[in-house]
């Protein structure tokens, strides 16, 4: 692993066990997360982005299984990298890493809080468990954390119950809980999707500050390209279990190369020129079901650049357009060959 890479996913395959039949959900994805960066996994529903994020911490539900691949994590302590795939699913080691070194936040903050205990108790419990702190220390740390994530009057909030928090405050509370043990990586699964736009802006600001001030590395899962543009350093566009294009955020938005990325960017309403209403470029059809995965490039039935007997014959190989920008599309493979000639 390279020096600044903290988490590396290599050729990860995940299948769904459906009545004894293996249905591929994620088909060999690769990405790397560098220290202090935000990597966004972007795609529409069913592209496998959430499943991937759950797999990173070995949190997949029973019917989903990692069939091959590696998830290498370089802990901050300088020890040799650990491959999560080789660890027991609910073993001691992975449990130690979860929360301690990699934390996760979700779309629905209530899922990570019990309604029966105060916010302070729940965050304090994590701190005491992982950091072996005393009750008083844990409480002090909790107040500090709540303050850090921008909850007003943290000394009072620490004794409140989750139902007393508004949606935005719960999201902050969950982030505080995730930060309790000073993780080096934060996995955020659609953390702002359920939030109102003004609160979303606050949460994005908070995450951005965590990155800038604490050097937090993040994997950010979302379908909202606006949010991606505002928070990510690197972007991986997923479609039906494959990464079709990845690169730095400026490249993906400024110089998209995969037809899917291009159409996706054209399909979002933009605020540029409101005086004239124009037709949005939509992508025809819809994402096929997992059980009806088109052969070859999964996007080919919806693609305007579809090439017969090529795109539907085999999955396109990876083409590296530059050291930092890669794409899986035959269009670019052809271009590469021409350039080589």
């Amino acid at each position: 692993m390279q020096n600044d890479v903290i988490l590396e996913v290599h050729n990860l395959h995940i299948t769904l066990d459906f009545d004894g039949e293996d249905i591929p959900v994620v088909q060999g994805i690769d990405f790397e997360l560098s220290a202090g960066k935000v990597l966004a996994l972007v795609g529409e529903s069913g592209c496998g982005k959430s499943v991937t994020s759950q797999a990173l911490l070995r949190l997949l539900p029973r019917e989903l299984r990692i069939t091959s691949g590696q998830i290498n994590f370089q802990a901050a302590d300088g020890q040799a990298p650990v491959d999560f795939v080789s660890l027991a699913k609910d073993g001691k080691k992975i449990r130690e890493i979860r929360g301690n070194q990699i934390a996760m936040i979700f779309q629905e903050p209530m899922s990570s809080f019990s309604v029966l205990h105060t916010i302070g108790n729940q965050i304090g419990e994590v701190i005491r468990l992982h950091l072996k702190a005393s009750k008083a220390e844990a409480r002090a740390l909790t107040v500090e954390l709540l303050d850090k994530v921008g909850i007003p009057d943290p000394a009072r909030a620490v004794d409140q119950y989750p139902y007393e928090f508004s949606g935005g405050m719960r999201q902050r509370g969950m982030i505080a809980k995730a930060l309790a043990c000073n993780p080096s990586v934060l996995i955020a699964d659609e953390p702002t999707t359920a939030l109102d736009v003004t609160i979303q802006a606050q949460v994005l600001e908070l995450l951005r500050r965590l990155k800038a001030d604490d050097g937090m590395s993040m994997i950010f899962i979302t379908h909202d390209l606006g949010v991606v543009a505002q928070i990510a350093d690197d972007v991986a566009i997923m479609y039906m279990g494959r990464i079709v294009e990845k690169g730095p955020v400026g490249e993906i938005f400024g110089n998209p190369q995969h037809p899917y990325t291009v159409s996706l960017l054209n399909a979002i309403p933009r605020l540029g020129d409101l005086s004239a209403r124009r037709e949005l470029a939509s992508i025809r059809g819809s994402v096929p079901s997992l059980f009806e995965r088109p052969p070859g490039c999964a996007f080919h039935p919806r693609c305007d650049s579809f090439m017969e007997k090529l795109c539907d014959a085999q999955p396109p190989p990876l083409t590296r357009l530059s050291p930092i920008h890669e794409v899986r599309c035959f269009l670019h493979q052809a271009a590469e060959k021409e350039a080589a000639l």
Binding site: L16, F18, S45, G46, V51, S289, F291, E292
Partner: protein, 375 residues
């Protein structure tokens, strides 16, 4: 994880064209995945079959007394005789009677030298099948003698025969009770859910009150109030009503809560905006939607009523002889002496256990299948 699950329903389509499947087909597909429910279902089918054809399936008629086989145990069916010779036709050993020299009571003794082969479609005691036509054909019987698979009671009546007949009565009392409860529950719950407000409030408090009354004393009081001179049929009807009076509260609650939930569904509002009258909304949109939940509830209420009937009859307060029900049969096994000497009298109890288990398994499966559209 919604995506793969959603896809599963789509995928089902590829195999079985679910895009054309009605609610009931989808429910059946989902139900079939529940193995225990299928086992329960087959068991219930067997119960129903034996209840319907009880007269024909049993080798005797329930009131028939066998004076030469009083209070004696189940007779085993054999393929091998005492000399280990194989017989293609199964048989029971013959019995002879002798008197106990001390107590002078009649005793039945196994005579291993004589076999009574079991034959099918034999002629036996005459009965009126479904009260329609007279016949004397029984599914099986022992040629040259008698056969008591579950033994006999103190009067020499065949326990197997009586259990089959009791199955009919017990299931039909349950069915009648449940149907009655269903109607009561649907109407009262429907009123509560549809009108809401004060009426709803009053009905809910009434249900809470009824449910807070301890059920056993209530049954006792109600059945004690039944006049002694009533015929067994009248008692039978009265008991179903009593059982229904207990069972409806649960169903009414389900109907009400489902109705309240469905009233808020977008598709109900859409139907209203489409110009549907209230009647059309209820019949076309609400009723089909909660029918499945009602059936689940009825399946779950059934064993409750079955047990209630059994307990009442067992206590001697429900059905009475000559009507046979599982509870009535168990009534005979009430004292320690009979259990010690005639444990086979408890066999109807096994039927109760199996019936209740079967209903619960089926109910479980139905509950999972009731909403085939859940994501």
């Amino acid at each position: 994880m919604t995506a793969p699950v959603q896809a599963i329903s789509l995928r089902k389509g590829r195999l079985k064209r679910p895009e054309m499947a009605t609610q009931w087909q989808l429910m059946w597909w989902k139900f079939k995945k529940h193995h225990m429910a299928l086992v329960g279902m087959s068991l219930l089918a067997a119960f129903v079959f034996s209840a319907v054809f009880a007269e024909f399936l049993s080798p005797a008629v329930p009131s028939e007394r066998n004076n030469s086989y009083l209070a004696s145990g189940p007779m085993g069916i054999h393929f091998f005789d005492a000399e280990w010779d194989f017989h293609a036709r199964p048989f029971v050993y013959a019995r002879t009677t002798k008197r106990d020299p001390v107590t002078l009571r009649k005793l039945s003794v196994v005579d291993e030298s004589n076999h009574w082969p079991i034959e099918f479609f034999v002629r036996g005691s005459t009965y009126k099948f479904w009260g329609l036509f007279e016949t004397d054909i029984h599914l099986f019987g022992a040629k040259g003698g008698f056969i008591h698979l579950f033994g006999t009671d103190t009067l020499g009546r065949d326990v197997f025969t009586r259990t089959l007949h009791a199955t009919r009565v017990s299931l039909s009392v349950g069915l009648a009770g449940v149907s009655f409860a269903f109607i009561l529950g649907a109407i009262i719950g429907g009123i509560a859910g549809y009108f809401g407000g004060m009426i709803d409030n009053a009905i809910m408090r009434l249900i809470e009150f009824i449910r807070s009354v301890p059920s056993l004393p209530l049954w006792l009081a109600l059945s004690a109030a039944l006049p002694r001179e009533w015929s067994s049929f009248q008692v039978y009807l009265a008991i179903t009503v009593i059982l229904a009076l207990i069972g409806w509260t649960h169903l009414a609650r389900t109907v009400r809560s489902k109705l309240l939930a469905l009233r808020e569904e977008d598709f109900t509002l859409a139907a209203r905006l489409s110009g549907c009258t209230d009647m059309r909304i209820i019949l076309r949109h609400l009723l089909p939607a909660f029918m499945s939940y009602m059936i689940v509830d009825v399946t779950i209420a059934f064993p409750e009523i079955l047990l209630a009937e059994t307990s009442l009859s067992f206590l001697g307060l429900g059905l009475r002889e000559p009507v046979e029900s599982w509870g009535v049969l168990l009534y005979a096994a009430q004292n320690v002496r009979s259990i010690a000497h005639m444990p086979w009298l408890l066999i109807p109890g096994l039927f109760v256990v199996f019936a209740v288990l079967a209903f619960n398994f089926v109910g479980d499966g139905m509950r999972d299948a009731a909403d085939p559209y859940s994501k």
